[in-house]
C-alpha cells in the first residue's frame, strides 16, 4: 500500500481533512509504521513551532518611539512660545523706545468721551481704562528697562529681537522639510 503524502499527514494532524479522508488516513496509519513515524514527526515539529522563543527587543525601542511621537509637539510649542515672547518683547521695546505714550490719540478719545453720553461714551471709557492700565504697565516696564538696558542699546535690541523672531519663524516653517529630508537620508 502506498504511503500517504506529507500534506495529507500534516492536514490529518491539523484536523483539517474531510470526514472520509480522515477516516482513510486513520485506517492507513494503523497498518503503516512509516506513515505513523512521519505523522509523529510532524506532530513533534508542530508542538515545537507552536511554542516559539520570542525575541526581546532592546529596552530603548518603546521610549524612542514615544520620543518620536510626542515631544515633537512639545518642541513645536516651545518654538511658538519663544516666537510669541520675542514678538511681545520686540513690540514693547519699540513702543518704549519711540515713546508712543506721547501719542495724543487716546487723549483725544478721552476728551471726546467727556463730551459724549450713552454707549459710545462707555466704550471710550473702557478703552481709556485699558489704556491707563497699559500706560501704568508701560511706565513700570520703562523704568525697569532703563535700569537694565541703556537707551543707546535700543536699536541693537530691536534688531536682535527682529533677527530672533525671524530665525524662529524660519526654523518653525522649515523644520518639517528638514525632518523629512533627514528621514529620507537615514
Amino acid at each position: 500500500m502506498a504511503c500517504l503524502p506529507n500534506d495529507t499527514l500534516i492536514a490529518y494532524n491539523e484536523d483539517s481533512l474531510g470526514a472520509i479522508e480522515a477516516s482513510q488516513a486513520r485506517d492507513h496509519l494503523l497498518v503503516c509504521p512509516d506513515c505513523r513515524r512521519s505523522a509523529a514527526a510532524f506532530r513533534a515539529l508542530d508542538s515545537i513551532l507552536a511554542s516559539p522563543s520570542l525575541h526581546t527587543p532592546p529596552a530603548r525601542l518603546i521610549p524612542q518611539v514615544m520620543q518620536r511621537l510626542y515631544p515633537a509637539t512639545a518642541r513645536y510649542t516651545s518654538i511658538f512660545a519663544a516666537m510669541a515672547a520675542s514678538l511681545v518683547f520686540l513690540v514693547t521695546w519699540i513702543y518704549i523706545y519711540f515713546d508712543f505714550s506721547r501719542s495724543s490719540l487716546i487723549q483725544a478719545l478721552q476728551l471726546t468721551a467727556n463730551g459724549t453720553s450713552g454707549w459710545l461714551a462707555n466704550i471710550i471709557k473702557a478703552i481709556s481704562v485699558v489704556y491707563n492700565a497699559a500706560q501704568a504697565g508701560y511706565k513700570a516696564g520703562q523704568a525697569l528697562l532703563n535700569i537694565l538696558l541703556p537707551a543707546r542699546l535700543g536699536p541693537a535690541v530691536i534688531v536682535g529681537m527682529v533677527l530672533l523672531f525671524s530665525g524662529l519663524l524660519l526654523f518653525a516653517l522649515l523644520r518639517p522639510r528638514l525632518k523629512k529630508a533627514h528621514q529620507r537620508k537615514s
Binding site: I10, A44, L49, T56, P57
Partner: protein, 191 residues
Amino acid sequence: MTLDEDQVLIKRTLRGERKAYEELMRKYEKKIFSFVIRMVRNEDVAVDLTQDFFFKIYTVMDKYNFEYKFSTWAYRICYNLVIDHIRKNQAQVDSLDDDSVSPRDLAASENVSREDGFKNLAQEETRDYVWRVVDQIPLKFRELILLRYIQDLKYEEIAAITSLPVGTVKNRIFKAKELLKQEMEKDGMLA
C-alpha cells in the same frame, strides 16, 4: 458594538492618552520584533523597522476600522513594511521567490549544530535549533511560518495579510513543514 482590549486602547490613544499607546506597544512589541528580526535577520534593521511600524500605526490609527480585529490590521501593516524593506534591500536577504537553496545548505552557513541529534538536546535547545532552521528556509515559506506560529494567526488571516489565496498559504506552510522535517531527519532527531 463591544470593543475588545486592543480597541479600547486605540480609543484611548485617539483621545490623546499617551499611556494607552505605550500599553498597546508593550503588548505587541515582542511578537512584532520577533517576526521582523526573523524576517530581516539583522537586529539593528529589526529595531528600526519595529519602531517605524509603531510610528506608522500611530499615524494611521484614525483610519482603523473598529469592525475588524486590530491585530490583523496591524500585522498587515507590519508585513507590508517588512516586505517593502526586503524588496528594497534584496542583496542582504534571500529573494522572495528563491526556493532553490536547501535549508541544509543555508543552515550550514550559520552556527546550527550538526553534531548533536535532536534526541540528545534539551527541549529548549531543540526549540532553538528548529527556529534557527526556520530562519534559514526561503522567505516565501518563512514569512508564512512566522505569521502562523509567532503571530498565532489562522490560515484565513494570513491570506488576508499577505494577499495570497488561502490554498496557497496552506500549501506553502505544508511545504515549509516538509522542509523542516527533512532537516530534522537529516540531523537524526526523528530517526
